[in-house]
Structures are given as structure tokens and as C-alpha cells.
């Protein structure tokens, strides 16, 4: 079963791309550039929302544990997916949301359990795409540590370098480096 992920190049869905990158050893996913983001599963079924795409990809590759190891962790993953979609995507009050995230990460290396899950992918992607995040990093040391740790790991660095550049018009002043 081959899946086809089409991405909107002017607003690349980083979370979905990261999920695709993680599952590509167990599921065949092709990535194409286009106008709208969608995951074509069959003739009748497609998903458009980045979190729905990530969820589907995590579920077709259960051995990777991207959706957590038990029901408790699965619920935690759901919590963070909603958190990233509602609190981190262009909403006002980023500092409050970052404060909560910082508290949650103080005793954890990964957001849920002891390994990478969709929670990490989705929250990382939301921060990566957020214009205000890097400048706020100093006040939230635990979020910073977690963010730059993930950024250094292979699928994150690859996806970050390949797709983040295309968002350049949003923050022109930072691009002259």
C-alpha cells in the first residue's frame, strides 16, 4: 500500500513531514510538492489536517511507538497534538503556553514516555514555524534544551533545513546570516 503525501510548499506541514520521515522504513510514503496539503490513502479517503495526517501515519506503523506505548501515553500524545494546534499556531499568548511547556519538560527528555512520539514532532513543528519562538527561547530553558536537542537529531535537521527556508518572507531580517 503506497501512500501519497502532497504538501503546500508555501506553508509546509512540518509535523506531517517529520512523521512521514520517521515511518518511511516501514510504510511506503511518497512526498510531492503542490498547492494543498493532503495525504491520499485511497481513491475515497484523504486527510487534509496536519495532525490527522501524523496520526494516520503513526497508526499504520505501530511498531515505531510514535503514538506512545500504552493508553495513558496515547492520551498524553493527544493532549500535546491539541496543545500544538490550539496554543502554538499563531495564537496570542505564546509566553503563557511556553511557560506550561517549560514546566512539563523540566523532568523529561521527551514529552511523552522515554522516546520520540507524535507529541514531540507536532510541538517541535509548531515552534519551528512560529515567528516569535527563537527570540523567546532564553526565558524557557527546558523548552530550549528540548528544542535544540531534537533539532540536532537526523529527521529533524533534514526536514528543518529542507523546508524551513521556504518560509523566509515572514522573517526577512533573520535571513541574512
Amino acid at each position: 500500500m503506497a501512500l501519497n503525501l502532497t504538501i503546500n510548499t508555501s506553508n509546509p506541514p512540518l509535523g506531517a513531514l517529520l512523521a512521514a520521515e520517521h515511518v518511511k522504513s516501514s510504510v511506503q510514503v511518497s512526498v510531492e510538492e503542490g498547492k494543498d496539503t493532503r495525504l491520499q490513502v485511497s481513491d475515497a479517503i484523504q486527510f487534509n489536517d496536519t495532525n490527522s495526517i501524523s496520526r494516520y501515519l503513526a497508526r499504520v506503523a505501530p511498531a515505531l511507538g510514535l503514538y506512545g506505548a500504552n493508553m495513558m501515553e496515547q492520551t498524553e500524545v493527544d493532549h500535546w497534538l491539541e496543545f500544538s494546534a490550539r496554543r502554538l499556531c499563531g495564537q496570542p499568548g505564546l509566553a503563557v503556553a511556553l511557560g506550561e511547556l517549560d514546566k512539563a519538560l523540566s523532568l523529561r527528555t521527551f514529552l511523552v514516555g522515554h522516546a520520540i512520539t507524535l507529541a514531540d514532532l507536532s510541538v517541535w513543528a509548531a515552534l519551528k514555524g512560529h515567528g516569535e519562538w527563537p527570540s523567546q527561547g532564553k526565558s524557557f530553558s527546558h523548552v530550549s534544551r528540548w528544542f535544540y536537542f531534537l533539532s540536532s537529531q537526523v529527521p529533524f535537521s533534514a526536514v528543518g533545513n529542507k523546508y524551513a527556508v521556504k518560509k523566509a518572507p515572514m522573517s526577512k531580517s533573520n535571513q541574512d546570516v
Binding site: 514546566k103 523540566s106 523532568l107 527528555t109 522515554h114 530553558s141 534544551r145 537529531q153
Partner: protein, 173 residues
């Protein structure tokens, strides 16, 4: 203690046949008698040898800088941590806590032999901490919990219960 650590390291590295070790002197310094060469003496020396034998050189650091950091923590382990007094414990934990504030592993973003041996060495200190103290040394606790759940590391040691959320949130660090 040191001999059990070396045998745990052998298992973690996936070395097929276990080595036989002897000890030297009052401090029970481990000795490995090599088939073709002089005997290897000392925990860190033998550990580095095993890592090379298993062809996992990245565990000693993948850049000049991280190799130096790994050696620094291995030395810290045998000189400061082993045989530290009750008064030293607080200073050791405080310094390590500060160091780990912005790091996931001792050598930054990469798991190395330093994490393994600092974990083995600090285990007896962490076992004795109260919940409130574990939270006081929050960064040490987080790192410790991550390493004890790292695949294949916690062989001979009992797991330590670690809370995953803070309960004494009034404190600032």
C-alpha cells in the same frame, strides 16, 4: 562494583564472550589480562578498550571536542565520584545539576560512555535522595531517569522511582 559495571557494559555493547577480570590492591582496581599484550589496568582504560573492541567508537565522542568532554567525565567519575564523602555529595550534585541545565547527555546531544559510567557511579547517591531533593537537583534527576530507561543500560542496578512532574513548584532554579 567495578567488575559488575564492566560486565554490564559488555552486555550493552553486545560482546559475545565475557572477559575474566581480576582486581589489584585495596581499592580493587580492575585488571584485564589480554591474550596478546600487557594487562590493562583501571575502569576507564578497560571500558574504552571494550568500546573499541565492539567497534562503537562514537561512544567515546564523534568530534575532538566531545572526545575531550567524554574523557573529562570519565575522569570525574573515578577521581571525584568514587569514594566521595557525605560533604562532597551536595557539591557534586549541585555542579552536575548546573552543567545539565541545557543538555540531554553529558556530551551534549549524543549518548556516550560518559553517560553510562556517570549513571553507574551516581546511582548510590540518587537512591538515597528524598523526593524533594530529587526535584531540587531537577536536571540531574531528568538525565538520570533518561539514562536508566536508555535501552540496555540498567543491567545490575535497581530502577529508581522518579516523578515526571514537579510537585514543589514554588521553588525557583
Amino acid at each position: 562494583m567495578a567488575l559488575r559495571e564492566l560486565s554490564s557494559l559488555e552486555k550493552f555493547l553486545g560482546l559475545k564472550k565475557p572477559n575474566k577480570y581480576s582486581t589489584q590492591g585495596d581499592k580493587k582496581v580492575p585488571v584485564l589480562q589480554n591474550n596478546n599484550g600487557p594487562p590493562l589496568v583501571g575502569l576507564v582504560t578497560i571500558a574504552c578498550h571494550l568500546v573499541k573492541e565492539a567497534k562503537r567508537p562514537e561512544l567515546l565522542g564523534d568530534s575532538a571536542e566531545s572526545r575531550a568532554v567524554v574523557q573529562q567525565w570519565l575522569e570525574h567519575r573515578v577521581t571525584k565520584l568514587d569514594g566521595c564523602t557525605k560533604e562532597d555529595i551536595k557539591t557534586i550534585l549541585k555542579d552536575l545539576n548546573l552543567y545539565l541545565q541545557d543538555k540531554v547527555y553529558l556530551a551534549g546531544n549524543q549518548f556516550t560512555l560518559a553517560d553510562t559510567f556517570m549513571y553507574y557511579g551516581i546511582h548510590p547517591l540518587i537512591v538515597d535522595l528524598a523526593i524533594q531533593e530529587k526535584e531540587q537537583y531537577m536536571n540531574v534527576t531528568r538525565w538520570f531517569d533518561h539514562i536508566q530507561h536508555y535501552p540496555g543500560i540498567r543491567h545490575h542496578l535497581p530502577p529508581v522511582a522518579v516523578l515526571r512532574n514537579r510537585i514543589y513548584t514554588g521553588r525557583h532554579h
